[in-house]
Symmetry: C2
Subunit: 541 residues, 2 copies
Amino acid sequence: MPDMRILAAQINPTIGDLEGNSRKVIEALQRAKGGDVVFFPELTLCGYFPDDLLLDRTFIDAMGKKLEEIRPKTKGLFAVIGLARWNESGKEKPLYNSAAVFADGKLLGFKNKTLLPTYDVFDERRYFEPGGEEPIWEYQGKRIAVTICEDVWQHAGMLDGYTDYRRDPIQDLKEKRPDLLLNLSGSPYYYKRKETRVSVFQTAAKTLKCPVIFCNQVGANDQLVFDGHSLFIDEKGQFVRMAKGFVEEDFWIDLHQKTAEKHKEDPIGDLYSALVLGVRDYFHKQGFQKALVGLSGGIDSALVTCIAKDALGAKNVLAVTLPSRYSSRGSVDDSKALVKALGVELREISIETVFKQYLNLLEPMFQGKSVDETEENLQSRIRGMILMAFSNKFGHILLNTGNKSEMAMGYCTLYGDMAGGLGVLHDVTKLQIYALAKHVGVIPEAIIKKVPSAELRENQTDFDTLPPYEVLDPIIEDYIEKRLSVEEIAQKRGHSSEFVRGIVHKIHRNEYKRRQAPISIRVTEKAFSKGRVVPIVQKWQ
Amino acid sequence: MPDMRILAAQINPTIGDLEGNSRKVIEALQRAKGGDVVFFPELTLCGYFPDDLLLDRTFIDAMGKKLEEIRPKTKGLFAVIGLARWNESGKEKPLYNSAAVFADGKLLGFKNKTLLPTYDVFDERRYFEPGGEEPIWEYQGKRIAVTICEDVWQHAGMLDGYTDYRRDPIQDLKEKRPDLLLNLSGSPYYYKRKETRVSVFQTAAKTLKCPVIFCNQVGANDQLVFDGHSLFIDEKGQFVRMAKGFVEEDFWIDLHQKTAEKHKEDPIGDLYSALVLGVRDYFHKQGFQKALVGLSGGIDSALVTCIAKDALGAKNVLAVTLPSRYSSRGSVDDSKALVKALGVELREISIETVFKQYLNLLEPMFQGKSVDETEENLQSRIRGMILMAFSNKFGHILLNTGNKSEMAMGYCTLYGDMAGGLGVLHDVTKLQIYALAKHVGVIPEAIIKKVPSAELRENQTDFDTLPPYEVLDPIIEDYIEKRLSVEEIAQKRGHSSEFVRGIVHKIHRNEYKRRQAPISIRVTEKAFSKGRVVPIVQKWQ
């Protein structure tokens, strides 16, 4: 069998940027000329996932035109490029999630995605008709099979736990004896997902007894972060190489390579990289440069400032600390120490005079009513307002610093600490935040060690309202990510059902708040917002 | 053929309230004893639509138990009850959207929904496997066919314009010659939809040459309002009767009735009723009684106050007017005239002192910068904060008063006039608001006639920023609801492509704002938020 060099072009497309994405494809085709085969991530031309842009006919037509422009550039290569295109039969859905297969400047045909995920963050049946065939193309004497993302996952039984497709494209391909399997993917990152993918592609390689190459999208699009980490598995199902994570890469594969390369496992490092990429792409893909962070002296805002600095550069980050009568002096000093270490500018504005003015104004209306969360929320909202005034005046985008534990419990103020353009940590529990803070290193010990507090009243701590995070976070993970029932969680964690039910009720009762949160970066199997569709008004939980 | 009396029980279920919904079913079964057949809306036991509650196994099991409790109560009747239940084959999705068919206390079997809408606000493929059979049941010598909502719509070709199912249950039923077709539905209201439904069910009746009865859910669940308006069409396809809209009703049908009953067309009246029901159910189904409205003196907040009064009662509505240096005296006086006419309490709080305090506080930071939208947003946000302080202190839910034209253009302030628990008018354009204001009658002419203004700077009007609503609203409708392209709209409306493209760009550029809006009541074919899934970060539009 002749040698074959393959380029898996791990690119970072922008949603709907047909012009820019096509340019990336054409440039990669140029670079691929030294080899034989080049292929790209799923839906290469429009990026994964364009949502209802797919319902715009002119969008689909424009993608077809781009493909025609690209065709001649595939001269001398076997090239596979993802796109959405018309299903000419018109039944049942008008589009295919497709891959165009070219050889030496000629279009050989298309592979249409057979398995269309319609669960979690995926909604492909809204737009696409499933393909049904698993074609094989011959090139340089090799029989090459092409699959698209999910097509490979049924075979490994690694779906969402609810879906079990009737077809299994890998099984269907087996009798066709391919010499090589290519997989174009838009497979989003979540915590510790890399290992799962290796095992999925190993299973396919073992069944087909041929090498498998996985080319994954990299980059963040709205809530989803794609980590890249493209893969090469040999015909024995052995791991050979993995592309870098969280960056574009020309992942060159020599099919004859047998020696497995080491890749180091660093789940917290990956999580941090995902958050940095989530922030960077949200900003840069929209043409924004500058971020604003409200620095409370607590660990969450400290971590967000580090992430913002790594995503955008220190000079593009402005931190604002907004002390009140309840802020400890330590909080302001700790914020100063942090920004000094990061090289980030800090402004300080006391909210005290405005807070007093509100209290005076409302006093006649609130007579006879005792002080309660209203006054706490006022402080949080004054901070939100001042930060938004900075954002409006200077054009910085406000980063939200809330975490998943708070978002779950509704331990946050609408229009106050929930303000911002992007929820950087909404899918990161408090316990993970401690791990990330240690990982980044620069956060002062005083910030990491202080008892978490909203500092909205005298001597307040989070634990006036919430159970310890060591208790709370595993329950949130069990209920939201693992989808265990109240009884299962109670048993697993050794709590009473009443205790767990109380937390689950609180999660549901605060759904209305989360609906008004900014979009956030998804880094777990199940984030709030995208991928989790629950009614606000309901009487089940 | 013997006479047959049928009860279409047009009930208002609460999502996930298996206990309460089952009680409604059992009570209706009692009332049905005078007749022969009784049936209910789609997904009777859990309400339409429970979203990801369906992924909770204990929820599905509990529904099955409720069905078993109900079974004996069907003695003496043919009864059809909707529920979600396990697909025992487990392929491809674990559930059916199903209808249990009982005769005289015995379970005869199930009809599984064949056509599963996965477009617009519907996402049924996320949970359900399509049924494939169209069974017929015999009762009192009649062959009765059961369909579920969408099953009937393919035959009439009245889908979303993109979906075209491979199956047509009405065609499949034709050769089985049913004597009666029952349809259990959860068919949401939108403007002027009633006529479409009549024609869909007429088409089915004509093909099957048998009477068709449509039993629709009534009530609002989160964003969706179900209008009821159940229907009876005779075997010639002629309209006979329509149930009331927006209320629960025992819709009794005598199959021998031939004379068509008149129903008056009042699209604006229906729209108003939909908004009232949307507010009432959002509140009452959650156990809330009291609403708060920020009354600006403009038409939008005036209309929301009327809706709130009709939904909740005058004594449960508190209006707050929050004048600033830019508020015309007329605005406050007009607000007073309105609340007097409605019998609603009004409070007045000037935002001036707090506004000055913010300006003083920010002045040193904003030196050298000219006054811009920052200062306008400050005023809007102070109002939002004071309203939320009232909400927090007294437990009233704040109603948001923004309209669809503003939401489209982003002519609104995050955390300011975008605050609230429910966007009452987010799916109502400004032109429709004028029509509704005339419909309700009580709104003072001065409010209706004044030039629309946010009153956030001297002599401001909406038209400093927006085109006239007579120009803007049709473009919004064409682009969002009718999904026309920029070029099609330009041609249809006689504008330049550049002008229309500018508006379309602005709609997309403000997607980030709408994502942080409260949920809203959907009353058109295509609302922002639910049913419209568009990326924030994209370069297509």
